[in-house]
Amino acid sequence: MTPEMKRDGCPSREWLRRMADREDQFESIAVGGLAADAGMLEASVSTSSPRVFGRLIEFARRARGLSVENLARSADLDLAELLAVEDMGKTPTPRTVFQLSKVLRLSTNKLMELAGLAEPRDSSLNQAALRFIARSEPTANLSREEREAFEEFIKVLVETSEGLEVPS
């Protein structure tokens, strides 16, 4: 028994203040064993998420020397939407993913999975995304290491013959 326990099980004010200050620094302290059993966890646990998708699109655009405006024009996308996808991790629409996949020459199906719009079917995609995220930082120019990480990821995302129907 600690001194804390002897005082009717109540934490001291100092303990409470200290822990409240520390807890404030975190977005959440949630525990999810029950949610995991029920399969209720969001895509945040997976590497397939709009944020990863946005990072990939940004890198793919920069690697091709395209500005956001140029890419939006080439892919016939709204500039504001493309900016939101790249910078804010906004979930893209299926049409946006399709258009981007065509312009950037990447697999539509895999991009759909990465954006969280399709059920993941390829576990190697997750692994590649994980390595890509771990090794990349959103900077103005691609460093050698970032370029290597990007190219490695791109190998997994190479254009394949399959395609998805474009939602109207």
Binding site: M1, R13, M19, F26, S28, I29, V31, G33
Partner: protein, 160 residues
């Protein structure tokens, strides 16, 4: 899940409660921190289904936290300028799990699967040991308290 039984009592500091909760048809051991007559957070624990994985007390029973969440009105959302009504509600609940472990004779041993955004809290703030990713729990990171770590948490609030 709909909670049918409103519970809660004021502790000496204004928060903290330990009662039995009813969720739907099930009755599970759980805790809720409660202050100013409103819910501030909920936790569900298991005491007979999980065992320590750390070598120090490997195989011995522990309190497994199945669910812990702070009430949305206590969330701190900086972009919206929200500071939350009651600070530290989650830490009080977690502390209750450690105390439950001591009452059960488990010497403070506690295990849990943290959500990704909470991993740093349990590792850096509470000082729990990272056991590893658990593929049976959607790849969540599993943490465990040894008896020594639990004691430090109760005394000082874990790691500094």
């Amino acid at each position: 899940m709909e909670c049918r039984e409103k519970i809660g009592r004021r502790a000496c500091t204004g928060t903290g409660a330990r009662r039995r909760l009813s969720f739907g048809f099930f009755r599970l051991p759980g805790s809720a921190s409660c202050a100013r007559k409103s819910w501030e957070g909920v936790m569900l624990t298991k005491t007979a289904t999980h065992f320590a994985r750390l070598t120090e007390d490997g195989g011995k029973p522990l309190v497994y936290i199945d669910y812990l969440e702070v009430a949305p009105w206590n969330w701190r959302v900086r972009p919206l300028g929200l500071n939350g009504r009651l600070r530290g509600a989650g830490s009080i609940l977690f502390r209750e799990a450690v105390r439950q472990s001591i009452r059960e004779g488990f010497h403070g041993r506690v295990g849990l699967h943290a959500l990704p955004q909470a991993e740093s809290y349990y590792e850096r703030v509470c000082g729990m040991t990272v056991v590893g990713r658990d593929s049976r729990k959607q790849n969540l990171l599993y943490f465990e308290f040894s008896r020594g770590q639990a004691r430090r948490f109760l005394d000082d609030g874990g790691a500094t």
